[in-house]
């Protein structure tokens, strides 16, 4: 195979190898390597699955008790629906991209970015596939543990559950994962200006926590929170948690459109700010 004349200029966010198939193969390799790496640390896998199972059991006990205590539903949501919704939130956290923030933030702070940004691949795509490989195994193992656990403890899925809702939920989960990747990458980029973007992460992460329904499902929150969840990027990563809501079968396509909107907006912002990062970065060598 002849040696290709790769474009070795410092890569902007979305300027991968000239050979597209080669780029896809390279990213898939990164994904596979990260996946294999996560297999080498079974104790970490066990710990993370234990934590998610523990949290969900805690929520199950709390919500079962609270609903029994008040003896009624809240905004049409019963204990089973609330618990399933919260469980989906905690499961999705594993597939999503919170950890990519730390990687990029740390590389910006330590200066390790300079050794990666001049490689013939897109830095951001590399981080995307690397993180996906790290998280996907945890997600599926947690899924395999939590779903049977919930079915055993609660007896069934919520009443509104159907296969079409499940399909829509999967579409929203995939869309939400891409939104979360864009969101957490975007908030890591200011680290070049403010030394450490950790505070931005805390604020964004907690906005996702509230609007995603980690402790209190979105359907149980006042209407203002629904508006805020839809019209800011913080609700979109966790739209899939709404798959057990009574009106989900009529509203899911609207949520998909909102996710697409946020992917385009956040993607554009990433390109803009990454270009600024590239210009500002001082490579000292050494």
């Amino acid at each position: 195979m002849p040696v290709q004349n790769h474009d070795y200029q410092i890569s902007s966010g979305i300027r991968p190898l000239q050979n597209r198939y080669g780029a896809i193969r390279a990213y898939l390799k990164v994904f596979t390597l990260s996946l294999k790496e996560s297999l080498y640390y079974p104790d970490k896998l066990f710990a993370s699955v234990f934590i998610v199972a523990f949290r969900i059991i805690m929520m199950l006990l709390i919500y079962s008790y609270a609903f029994r205590y008040i003896g009624r539903t809240v905004n049409g949501i019963d204990a089973t629906t609330a618990i399933w919704s919260i469980a989906i939130y905690h499961l999705l956290l594993y597939a999503q991209f919170r950890a990519v923030f730390k990687t990029i933030n740390d590389e910006m702070k330590s200066g390790a970015l300079e050794t990666q940004i001049n490689k013939p691949y897109s830095y951001l795509f590399y981080k995307f596939w690397e993180q996906l490989g790290k998280g996907i195994l945890n997600f599926f193992v947690a899924l395999a543990v939590v779903i049977p656990l919930l079915l055993a403890l609660l007896g069934s899925a919520p009443g509104v559950f159907s296969l079409s809702n499940l399909f829509a939920g999967i579409v929203l989960a995939v869309g939400g994962t891409i939104v979360s990747a864009a969101l957490y990458m975007l908030i890591a980029l200011p680290a070049l200006w403010i030394d450490d973007a950790q505070p931005l992460y805390w604020i964004s992460d907690k906005a996702v926590l509230i609007l995603g329904g980690s402790y209190v499902p979105l359907a149980m929150l006042p209407h203002a929170f629904h508006t805020f969840a839809n019209f800011t990027p913080f609700g979109a990563p966790m739209f899939a948690t709404q798959m057990f809501n009574p009106n989900f079968s009529t509203s899911w396509w609207y949520l998909v459109l909102l996710q697409m909107f946020w992917i385009i907006v956040l993607g554009g912002l990433i390109l803009f700010f990454f270009e600024k990062v590239r210009r500002r970065l001082a490579i000292n060598g050494g």
Partner: protein, 278 residues
């Protein structure tokens, strides 16, 4: 046992010296972190804003469910403030224990063992976490709001403030105990972290939701309620038994912490890691 005046004097002098040196370490750690001023200020403010989310979560919860077993938004505010204050104190000034499993695993404990200080005290003051100062400010502010809005007496607030001491002691020693797993299992950073999270996470949940076996488990097996829910209930109801119980639990965990540390150190094998540790 005969009271030995000289030994007691030496013991007192050692305690005073350790406290003085501990304060110097803490001051050094904070000064070092404050070098990057923008980052330092943003971390503190960011952490305060981060914590507001938890108050909001429980406000929304109680808005949906109303009062549960005497717990409402007032108690939730006190709980968040109390836990944030205790957590802030532990992780601002004594966060070395959080790094302890990493220190054991990397072999860096050698340099700590060689310092002419009491090991127990030195481990706690190894590092400082700047963002935890935000927890202190946030906790104090929230407890002030709790006092003003819900008309508690000054003596109740002083008692709540005093209970921060045993709550912090419990948290520090629990963290030390789970960190000591590093002496038995290689690279126990993740395991000790998840054990601490298992204990600490539910401490932010209103204690009124823990009844029966769960209440017993989260007081006597994991000290979760002792670092938040029980102190808040004790001060709200002026329940002396609960106040004494929190102090006793702190003493028990301190004893377990010291015992685990001394057992663990006997198993430690030097990594022969050379370097300077200031």
């Amino acid at each position: 046992m005969k009271f030995n005046k000289k030994q007691f004097y030496i013991w007192c002098r050692t305690v005073v010296t350790e406290v003085r040196i501990g304060l110097i370490y803490i001051q050094k750690n904070i000064s070092s972190a404050a070098e990057l001023r923008v980052s330092f200020a943003m971390q503190i403010i960011g952490m305060m804003m981060n914590n507001i989310a938890f108050v909001m979560v429980w406000w929304l919860f109680f808005k949906a469910f109303g009062t549960i077993n005497g717990w409402n938004i007032a108690e939730a505010i006190a709980l968040q403030g109390f836990v944030a204050l205790s957590f802030g104190i532990v992780f601002s000034f004594f966060s070395g224990v959080d790094e302890f499993p990493k220190v054991i695993h990397s072999g860096a404990l050698d340099s700590v063992l060689l310092t002419p200080r009491v090991l127990y005290a030195r481990i706690f003051t190894l590092t400082t976490r700047v963002s935890a100062l935000g927890d202190i400010f946030f906790g104090a502010t929230l407890l002030g709001i709790y006092w003003i809005l819900f008309h508690h007496t000054l003596s109740q607030m002083i008692m709540l403030g005093l209970l921060v001491i045993p709550a912090s002691v419990i948290m520090m020693n629990f963290l030390l105990v789970v960190s000591c797993i590093g002496f038995y299992i290689p690279d126990a950073v993740e395991i000790s972290k998840f054990m601490f999270e298992t204990m600490f996470g539910p401490s932010l949940y209103p204690a009124g939701l823990f009844q029966g076996f769960m209440r017993f488990f989260f007081i006597f097996v994991l000290p979760t309620l002792a670092i938040g829910g029980i102190p808040v209930e004790a001060v709200r109801d002026w329940n002396i038994i609960k106040i004494v119980a929190v102090w006793l639990i702190a003493v028990v965990w301190a004893v377990i912490g010291v015992w685990m540390l001394h057992r663990g150190v006997k198993r430690y094998e030097s990594g022969s890691l050379t370097g300077v540790h200031i």
